[in-house]
Structures are given as C-alpha cells and as structure tokens.
Point group: C3
Chain length 267, copies 3
C-alpha cells in the first residue's frame, strides 16, 4: 500500500534523476504538460513524427499517450510509440481524453491498449465508463459522472486489460482490478483549469518511469496532483492564478507538506 | 438593445448550463481559449479530425472557427463543422485571424461564410476591411487600423453575408448591418497578450450558444471581455500577469461589477 | 562590441517599430513565444501552410525556424520560408531543438542551413555539439552539457556555416567563429520553464529584424532574456509564477535596469 513514505521516496527519485518522459499529447495542453513535468523534476519531450517516435521512446523512461486532439497521422505515431515501449519494456500511460464523445476517441483508446497493455489508464469517470461500453455520454472532454459511478467499470477495465485504472474526480480511484486506493486530495476549482487532468496523466508517467509498480505510481501521481492543487489554492484567486501557483507548488512540495496533507486510503 | 440586465441574465445562464462549445482553432491559442471558456463557465472541446468533427458539432451548442494557423486538412474540417452546424441549426462564429495578410486566410474566411452564414464574425479592423476587399494591409495578425475605420466595411459585410460583425478595438463595434452597438470597455495593454482576440471570439460562441440573438450575444461577449480586462489590470503589472488575472476576472465577474463598469451604447 | 548602449538603442527600435517576426515553431511553445515577442514590443505571426509561407515571409522582417515538433509538411514549410527569406535578403534564425536526440532533428537542422545560412543558430550545448557531429547524447530537449563544453563546436559550426552561433547556458556564448561574447545574466530556475530557450530564439529574431549585425543581435537577445529572468525571479516563487513575471519584465525592462544588470563581456 503506497503511503507518504513511498511517495516521498519516489518524488526524491524523480527530482534526482529527472526521468525523460516522451509525450504524444494534444495541442491544447502541450505547454502546460511540459511545464508540469519540469516543475515536478522530470524531463519532458514531445515528438509525434513517424520519423523519430522510435528514437524518442528509445531514450525515454516512460511514454505518455493522450488522445485529446487526434488525427490519423497522430494515431499512427501513437501505435508506433506503444509498440516501441512494449518492445523495450518501458511503461506507457494512456489518457483517453473525450472517450465516449466520439467513436474515434473510444476506438483509438481501446485499439492502443490492444497493441500492448498500458501500465496505467488515467481518465475521468465518463471516459472510463465509455471504455467499458457504458453510456457514451460525456460532455465533450468533461465528466458528467462522479468518480464513484465508474468504480465498477474501472475494476472491470483494469482486469480485462491487465493494467491499473486511475479515475480522477473529487475522490480519485486507483485500481488494478483487485486492490483499490482512494485519494481525497484536490480542490473543486481544478477542473476549471484546462489540462490539469492531462498533467495528472503525464505525472503518472513520471512516477511510472521510476517505479515498476503501476498501482503505486498512479496513486503517487494523483496524490501529488491533489496536494499541489490544494497548496496552489491557498494563493490563487481564481482559475488563472491557480494554474501558475500549481506549478510553483509542484516544484516546492516537501516531505512535510506531504506528511501533513496526504489523504490516501485503501479500499 | 442589450444592457447590463440582459448580460447578467446570459452570464448566469452560461454559468448554470455550461454550454459545450466546439472549437476548431489555432495552435497558438488553444490553451488560453479553453481556459477562457472554462473561466467564464462554458465547457470547451477542441476537435479537428474529419473522423469526429460531425459528432462533436452534434453534441455542442455552438461552433467556433478560428483560422489562425491554417492548413489544408484543417480547412476541410472547418467546412465540415460549418455544414454540420448549419444542418443542425446551431450557431457558428468565425474569427478570420490574419485575413488580408495572406490570400488563403482571406479566401478561406469568405468561403466558409458561403458554406453557411455565421452568427457572428469577430475580427479586428484590418481583418474586417480585408474581408470587404479593402486594402490587404494587415501587420500579420495585428490590426493597423482603429475599429472606426472599419465601420463601413463591417456594416456592408454584415448586410452582404447576413450575419453580425463584431470589430474589436479601443471601442468595439457590433453591427448587423443596421443596428450598431459600441462597447467602450477594455484596456490598451490587452493586445499585448496573444489570444485575447481569439478568446473574445470563443466567448462570443459561448453567448451565442445560449442566446439566439447574435447581436446581443456578440455585444455581451465583447463587454465581458473588456470588463474582465479592466478588472485584471487592477492587479496586473504587465502582459504576463494580465493574462492570468484576466482568467480570474472572467471567473469572478459579478452583477455588481457589470452594473458599475459596463460602457455599452447604441449607435 | 555590443554593450548597454547598443542594446538600449535596439530595444527602443523594436518598441518603436514592432517588427513583424514570422515563426514556424513547435506546438509546445507557440503561445509563450508569441507572448514573449509581444511583451518585448515585436509583432509575432505564426504560419506554416505551404499556401501562405511565402506571403508571410514577404511581409515579415525576420523568420524564426524552430524544429521542436517536426513532421514532414512542416519541414517543407521551413524550407520554403528559408528560401524566401534568403531571396528577399531577410535574416532567419534557427533553433535546433533536440538536435542529437533523433536523426531527423539533426539532419533537418543541417539541411536547412544548406538551403541558406541563417543569421544565427541559437541552441543549448548538447544541440550545438550534435550539429558538429559530436556525441549524439542529449536528454531529449534538455542539455546535458554546460555551455563551455560546446565552445569549440560553436566556433567551428559558425565558421563552417558562416553564421553566428549562440549557445545558451549558465553563461551564454555568442560567436561568429572569431569574436566571442559571454553573457552571464540569467537564473538557474529558467530551464524549469518550458519554452524559455525557444523565446530566446524568437527574441534573437526580433533583434535581427532591426539590426543587420547578427553578432550584436544575438548578444542583445541573450542579455535581455537573462536580465528579464533575473527581474522576474525577484517576484516569482517557482517556475509557474516565473513564466508570467518574465513576460512582465520583458515589457518593463528599462535603460536603468539594463545599465545596472548587464553582464556582457568579450572573449
């Protein structure tokens, strides 16, 4: 069971080795994702050209695939990166942004998991429900369900694919199909900043880069996200300033902050 | 005639229903546009793949097309989205970024209006002049004309296309060819932040999503933009901090702020 | 030899004429690059479509090419822009982001310099070493070398291509193969913000747009970057707030700030 000690250990490792995380992600969040990884202490690279995807995956410690603004050449690059990651034994993490809102998003997400199972799928409740063939309704890329509504789907999806599923929401749920971890950190204003969910996925990639246990990696990532959000809200006056103080908090968060704030529980 | 009361009513509606706005926009502003819509209370989605444009337009309440970084596949996606929006009776809003600076921008903008007339065209004076066949000179994507210089062109364009034209500038001009509304809110530092014009267009889309009168929707959007800019400048020390406080102000702006600040007039 | 006086002269010129800088750059930094150019006083345009690249280069005063997120159509657009710039006698500036991390990045960078020599290549030490055929090792887009390690490569590259090479690092090195300028401004937190290197390149383009001496232009740009970073750190609490205060500082930096802070030296 992950806890403050395992989280502090892994955060120190990220800050010490600055693992390279290869992102094939969407246009909306590329800048904020890179900044989140840098603030945490990881080293981001973004590369989507067929000509270089394999090389980038080769030098990276983890791959993050985010389908937020898909098109055919990007889907092909994602397939290549997943295939390379699997061949090299490197973890990859999937963010099925807007799965359920269009067929291509749902189908691309599932197709990528069949190329090779990801270490972690990180999505909101609507996306996780959609990947289990539940009602398709998402509101674009926002969730219309609380995370608890996706608990069954998350467990079933994790078991079916053989991966960890991490459902973000007021309480985050992280499961490998059997074990279940709840993280109750965070702040309700966070969904009003675009890309914080995508940052959670990238940060899951950073933790997966240095910890071979994907359940721990996912739980660590969601905890750090939530705690940094709480710290940021102590200085922010709205979603604009939240975005910046969040990066400062990711950079500054200390063992004392973690010990005091962490709200992680089993089951 | 729109006024503080109609604006407060529509803002409350946006905050209550969080209308989904489908954006096909440029790479430079995707993040800031999504954040502006979220801060206002709307729900953004960005999607440009031919495979999903129709589905996204189908679940959205309004479509925003911004030509700031064009290429052939994106132009085709824009045509599809406009066609879908028209077929479904949903409003679409055009931002002809850099019209006049290159032929493809001017011609694409006009061609899209012939697929189906937009509810609103929101541009700067140089762009509106270029769409009326005026002198091509823009300075890239910045205007070299005051908004008043485009008044005749705006009216003629609105009448010719059968839409509302919203010209941003020191004083914003909103016209349907007959009626004319002036909005004198805003701050001269705002053009020093990239993407605030694009945010104005997206916010016009959010107001059009919940108000069938495009003249009101456009006037409401330009007013909110200007007032949020003024509120942000009370905390900002330059264009960097302006950008963030602007989002905070969009989120926080109240009926009292609107009553005190609104500078909208007929004619 | 550039100095505070030549820098103040050129900064005043940029602020007076707002030169249009045409950028073909990567998806991660488009927004922050545009904002940096606007904050400095220049006028950015981003355009990558074959249909408009020549027109945009035609109205611009300088072209900036940044290979941070390459793909085949973008490489072709870059070639077109370089060819146009050369034909029109306009300076162009190259940022070889991640050269050494993949073959396509190294080869594209070198191929573009053979279309026409740039006024300036601005990269980190690992990238400059890679362009000289040195050890390929970069950590994605981050440098694993101090700038001094690339001094020899920078001089050789500058002589071989016939351009200025500007190596960013704790101390920036600017050389045309013979003359060498060191700029010791800046702050160690700056590499924790994505896109500040790319902003340095764009700002080099802005200075090159109004000063025909590329050695001066590059030295002026690196100095302004470093000093604005120092000023921003006096207000910032981490990489998030640094990013915004940096833009405010670019906008606000005065002759007095420059006189007091500049740490530029020959040799």
């Amino acid at each position: 069971m992950p806890n403050a000690e395992t989280l502090c250990r892994d955060l120190a490792r990220i800050r010490a080795v600055a693992p390279l995380v290869h992102n094939i992600t969407n246009f909306v969040v590329m800048n904020s994702t890179a900044n989140a990884l840098l603030a945490l202490g990881a080293s981001p690279v973004m590369a989507h050209a067929a000509e270089e995807v394999d090389e980038m995956t080769g030098i990276a410690k983890a791959v993050v695939i985010n389908i937020g603004t898909l098109s055919a050449p990007w889907i092909e690059a994602m397939r290549m990166a997943v295939r390379s990651a699997a061949a090299l034994g490197k973890p990859w993490v999937l963010d099925p942004v807007g799965a359920g809102a269009s067929r291509v998003r749902t189908e691309t997400s599932l197709a990528l998991t069949r190329v090779a199972p990801p270490a972690v799928i990180r999505g909101n409740a609507s996306e996780i429900l959609a990947l289990r063939g539940g009602e398709a309704g998402t509101k674009g890329v926002a969730s219309i369900h609380a995370s608890e509504a996706a608990l069954g789907a998350a467990k079933a999806l994790a078991s079916a694919i053989g991966c960890v599923v991490s459902v973000s929401g007021e309480v985050d749920l992280i499961t490998d199909g059997n074990a279940l971890i709840r993280v109750a950190n965070g702040h309700p204003l966070m969904p009003r900043v675009t890309g914080l969910g995508c940052a959670a996925t990238a940060i899951t990639g950073a933790f997966a880069a240095i910890n071979p246990d994907p359940l721990e990696a996912a739980a660590h990532a969601m905890s750090i996200m939530g705690m940094a959000g709480e710290m940021a809200m102590e200085k922010a006056a709205g979603p604009g300033t939240l975005q910046l103080h969040f990066l400062d908090a990711l950079y500054a968060i200390s063992e004392a902050d973690i010990a005091r704030r962490l709200r992680m529980s089993a089951g």
